[in-house]
């Protein structure tokens, strides 16, 4: 069963099979979080190895002494920057942070995160929906980090989000996709791209996300905290591509019993 999203995406992007997100066409279906890299150099190498075209950043108080050139690094790599609202617990804070991001980075795109507590970093559904509604009304292209709840995903789409970004498992947990049935349900019903966000631990998790019908995968820790982040960036990029191809190819159904691939007719009598 193919999702309408996968098919619409493929049709719109044509033979190159690019990701269409709001008004942008992206050459890669892997989005990268910039958190956790131990140096700008490593981040730059991982960005290149991943082939990504969109990289998230967070907004924090500026330390005049410790100002680096993160934006220069990302600009030099030719990737677009996606500000997030990480660390916000309320719709009010998330909306304010999104506005700061828009002002600082001159983009109306925002990765909306509204978390419920520090231990799980799970989204707070009611605050998230409220913030999404306000930001859409304020002209933002809202990409919400959400739970793997198909109903909430639908509500986020209904209020005008440009994508839905369900978690596979909690941020940084590396537990992969703990409820693939929910991710498949979200993909089946979504009219906007579904981006698997959070939980990827290794390449196979990213491939599974794509096979389930996601349009893209967003990874941070799985790459930045791997033993060799650059090699993992390449591995996950390959997995996203492989998973996407497999999705479009259409997998065989799972069956309880074997189905022979060699015919039984014409067997020689060797008795």
């Amino acid at each position: 069963m193919r999702s309408k999203v996968a098919d619409t995406d493929a049709a719109r992007a044509g033979a190159r099979d690019e990701l269409v997100l709001a008004d942008r066409t992206l050459p890669s279906r892997l989005l990268l979080g910039s958190g956790g890299f131990t140096s700008f150099e490593l981040l730059a190498q991982a960005v290149t190895a991943s082939g990504t075209a969109l990289v998230t950043v967070a907004l924090r108080r500026i330390d005049p002494q410790a100002r680096g050139s993160l934006l220069d690094v990302l600009e030099g790599l030719g990737v677009a920057v996606l500000p997030n609202t990480a660390g916000c617990y309320t719709a009010r804070d998330a909306v304010s942070t999104a506005r700061l991001g828009r002002e600082a980075l001159q983009t109306d795109w925002v990765k909306l995160e509204v978390i419920g507590d520090e231990q799980t970093l799970l989204p707070d559904a009611t605050e998230l929906l409220l913030a999404a509604e306000q930001l859409v009304a304020d002209g933002f292209v809202v990409l919400p980090y959400t739970t793997d709840d198909p109903i909430l995903a639908r509500r986020l789409e209904d209020v005008g989000c440009a994508a839905v970004m369900p978690l596979g498992s909690p941020i940084g947990s590396g537990m992969g996709i703990v409820n693939p049935y929910n991710i498949a349900l979200i993909c089946e019903h979504a009219g906007v791209p579904v981006v698997l966000d959070a939980g990827v631990g290794t390449a196979s998790d990213a491939a599974l996300a794509m096979e389930l019908g996601c349009s893209a995968v967003l990874c941070a820790s799985a790459i930045s905290r791997a033993e060799d982040p650059v090699a993992m960036a390449e591995a996950i990029a390959a997995a996203v591509h492989a998973g996407r191809l497999a999705r479009l190819a259409g997998r065989i159904p799972r069956r309880l019993h074997a189905t022979a691939s060699s015919p039984f007719d014409g067997m020689p009598d060797l008795g």
């Binding site: 958190g35 890299f37 981040l43 950043v57 967070a58 500026i62 100002r67 993160l70 304010s96 990765k111």
Partner: protein, 65 residues
């Protein structure tokens, strides 16, 4: 006194003057400013006076997400 990123600072005439004093500079890319919780667009940095007691937040992009 004004409060800049949570610390007390001497008054400043406006955001441009404050950013110059902090060594950030008003031309710095990737910077946003909020006064008492409301974003102040860059175009208004030179014109809006900073009243004593104002809470000023100066933010920029860092690695994250």
């Amino acid at each position: 006194m004004i409060y800049v990123n949570g610390s007390e600072q001497p008054d400043a005439a406006n955001v441009v003057a404050l950013l110059e004093r902090l060594g950030i500079g008003a031309q710095a890319r990737g910077v946003a400013v909020a006064l008492d919780g409301e974003v102040l667009p860059r175009s208004q940095w030179p014109s809006v006076p900073l009243a004593p007691g104002t809470r000023v937040e100066v933010v920029g992009a860092i690695q994250g997400g």
